[in-house]
Symmetry: C2
Subunit: 504 residues, 2 copies
């Protein structure tokens, strides 16, 4: 068995052995336990699972300082960011408890028996039910909010699905601590053994997505990692849904009016957005379209100034730092790309990365500028006019987000850009930046390929829909129906004979 080690990214040194990689036999045992736990977890009902989620949130809050300390040591993300991320994590758990309280997510629907133009119709009742055990992959860049107790786990538990989580190798100690806290708290409110499990190791992750008990997979990570898992899923005798969020360019368009009105401000804000968290966000703006001319020049100068003064951030792990060096150098040296500014150089044994601001021409956008480079680099593409801009924007790959910075009263160009960008993004942002993804009812974090999550979100309340499937009961006796479908139940919204009814 191979050791799972925790490394300090600030020094590159191995700090401790945290665990052993999970064996294939143990993956099998844990997945079977998850399957065995499934009926009892569903049986807890909406109330029981809402209590579970709130209990888990409370348990994490009680250990806030320990969690943040160990996460900071393993990720170098800093305690302010990590405190915020833990707040996000517990808020997220509690918000899914509200989703359960409210009950719309069940899509409870009743068609009463009767005659139709098609002939007599039997009594039909439809509800979304949990899909079964879910495999969750912790993300490198969010050790808390997209990892053990993150959005995938919260939404799967809310749905009623046991969760088997593969810890990310970047933060195994944080993962272990968070898991221990959850595993100790869950039984206190009746969650069955097997509700949660933790795995370590690449092979364990592969075994997990191949396991017959697993009914869906949630993944946030690299395109190569996600595609490797997808290949395994395609080989299953029964392929299961794969909700992957694999990479994203997140284009930002600054209109001429916005550049003229507030170029310097936008430049400083854009620089802050693409370097935030070391540029290690799936929503990092990797490509910004800025008009040629004086106003655009001022914007780029403000970005360059911010980048020049910036120390080299410490990236999450050696692999990400090495990939950043390789890809950012390839990008900087690509035909048609120039370096506008660089920040402090990477030095020492830790996983530092030099911030970089590059420029190019929108009319001859190099391929490399349209591909995600994880880390503190962004490309500014200068455009000459609307036609130049719209043509370049229309040829972009899909992203999680697209942002439009416009003039105070500008409507025409933003509307044209909206038409071009909507097919390419899950979230459209106006006069703001893509980093910072609110957890709320209306959020959408996904999009067309390279998200495999094109019809769902991994952030926000509707993330629960990924782990549900519809079942219809035809002419069923009351005794076998889920309570939300029984006659006279009024505590959740229900559609009856096509008409939506709210709770009394």
């Amino acid at each position: 068995m191979a050791d799972v080690v925790s490394i300090d990214p600030r020094t590159g040194a191995t700090v401790e052995v945290v665990a052993q990689e999970t064996t294939t036999a143990d993956v099998d045992r844990l997945c079977k336990a998850a399957l065995a736990a499934f009926p009892a977890l569903e049986e807890l009902g909406r109330d029981g699972r809402a209590l579970l989620l709130r209990t888990l949130a409370d348990a994490l809050e009680e250990r806030r300082d320990d969690i943040v300390a160990i996460a900071d040591r393993e990720t170098a993300l800093g305690s302010m960011r990590l405190n915020g991320e833990l707040t996000r994590t517990t808020y997220q758990l509690r918000l899914f408890a509200e989703v359960l309280d409210e009950g719309s997510y069940l899509e409870a629907t009743i068609d009463q028996a009767g005659d139709t133009p098609m002939g007599p119709r039997p009594d039909l009742r439809r509800l979304l039910v949990p899909i079964g055990p879910v495999a969750v992959f912790g993300a490198s860049n969010f050790p808390l909010a997209f990892s053990i107790a993150g959005g995938d786990t919260a939404s799967a538990l809310a749905a009623g699905c046991p969760v088997v989580i593969k810890a990310h190798a970047s933060h195994p100690a944080t993962s272990g601590l968070v898991y221990d806290i959850l595993a100790a708290a869950a039984p206190k409110c009746g969650a069955p053994e097997g509700t949660l499990a933790l795995l370590h190791g690449l092979q364990a992750g592969a075994d997990l997505v191949a396991h017959p008990a697993v009914r869906a997979v949630g993944f946030t990570g690299s395109a190569s990692g996600g595609q490797a898992l997808l290949r395994i899923i395609e080989q299953r005798p029964d392929p299961v849904p794969f909700f992957g969020e694999l990479s994203s360019l997140n284009p930002v368009v600054v209109t001429p009016a916005a550049a003229t009105e507030r170029g310097a401000t936008v430049g400083a804000e854009l620089a802050a957005s693409f370097t935030m968290g070391g540029g290690q966000f799936c929503t990092k703006p990797g490509l910004a379209f800025v008009p040629r001319g004086l106003a655009g020049d001022a914007l780029v100068e403000a970005m360059a100034e911010a980048v020049t003064g910036m120390p080299a951030p410490v990236l999450l792990n050696e692999g990400i730092a090495a990939a950043y060096r390789r890809i950012s150098i390839e990008l900087a040296e690509a035909q048609g790309i120039e370096t506008a500014a660089s920040g402090g150089a990477a030095r020492g044994a830790g996983f530092q990365a030099q911030p970089l601001l590059l420029t190019t021409s929108a009319a001859a956008l190099p391929r490399q500028a349209t591909e995600e480079c994880f880390g503190p680099v962004a490309v500014v593409a200068r455009y000459d006019g609307e036609q130049d801009l719209l043509a370049a924007v229309g040829a972009l790959p899909s992203s999680l987000t697209a942002a439009i910075l416009r003039g105070a009263d500008e409507t025409e160009l933003p509307a044209l850009l909206t038409d071009r960008l909507r097919p390419l993004a899950g979230r459209l942002i106006y006069d703001g930046y893509p980093t910072g993804v609110a957890v709320s009812w209306a959020q959408q974090h996904g999009g067309p390929w390279p998200s495999t999550n094109s019809q769902h979100t991994s952030v926000g309340t509707t993330a629960v829909r990924r782990f549900l499937r519809p079942v219809a009961w035809q002419s069923a006796p009351q005794s076998v129906l889920p309570r939300e479908l029984t006659d006279g139940f009024t505590a959740v919204p229900r559609r009856i004979d096509g008409v939506l009814h709210l709770p009394d």
Copy 2:
């Protein structure tokens, strides 16, 4: 170019050349036209598309007799069934118009800007938008309701997606007539050119799912056909959702109480269900669990009696008839399977098939008895007691449906069976038979693999969800928002700050 011919299944004779197989260049042209039509079709809005669907339904009704005559000549399904199927088809188009009128399907959601425990939240507004051009594959067994003007087309058009339809080779003349009717009617209510297209030929179908303009695929057909398309989709640079409904066993369980109370009736009804339409339904009950003993014997005798007196139905095409002969013989000759009754023998040059009733033991269920055999054959598995029954049922593959026939006041065994069968089916039927799938709000036609449609339905109003994807607008000016998300719009249900509001 290869001829597309229309064959009379009653005689096996080629009646006419209907068209030429669509070339790769023409598939490309039609898919590009669909993509070009997409913005204008969406622009029609909910009202405009509801009018479109009703107009198409009216146009089909006007040509009812012509459609039924040609469909009967090509499928041998009979004019009563085909009249019913056309009624279902036009009802379905009109029901999706109601879905558009009602507007819940948009999942309109607004989170107003404000403070949260996570910090300040921007204004976020979410709506489901059409996914883009949809590829639809006509089914062999429903020349109307699951073909050119069928549920996939109706739900895709409702969503706002142009549709490129591959006609099934079993009924190209019917497909051509229905397409011509739709294509003539659509422009009358403003549908852009490119809203609908028709393809013929196997290679054209493969070209279609590989085309970059196609954003989702709806398929009803064989497991082998569906898996071939899935392989093509997996090779796309941007895999798209594949909503396939590939095969289904549809187990039926008769409890001892039901057998005792009404064994002979159930036997006659079961025989009618599995031979209906020549046994060519995806919901055909292929396997029935019947208790051993006198009551069960009487049930099987009633089935045998019905089958013995039954003439050989004409199947849809030569391939289906040949596969039926091969698979039903293999099934009948499998270890542990006995033939209880056979109907009229297949004779003549047409595609006739001999009805077959087979029996076996639930305790030693042969693999072949758990696989779909398209055509007029069913297997009765006799069981000894509850334990025997529950063990056999729990080991079944997933199906579109599972049915439980119970005693008048029986609750305990039906509840146990429900627990076992729910994970394996999309629809649970009590005291009824799986054939006959109502088009309604609460319908679910799908299920775990071998449906790739596990989280969605291909029948009923929520089928529209397959062709939609969520988009969030952050801090957007009113001028770029879809009207259903603008301030003060009240004509559709909307969730505002987590609270669902119904129209005034």
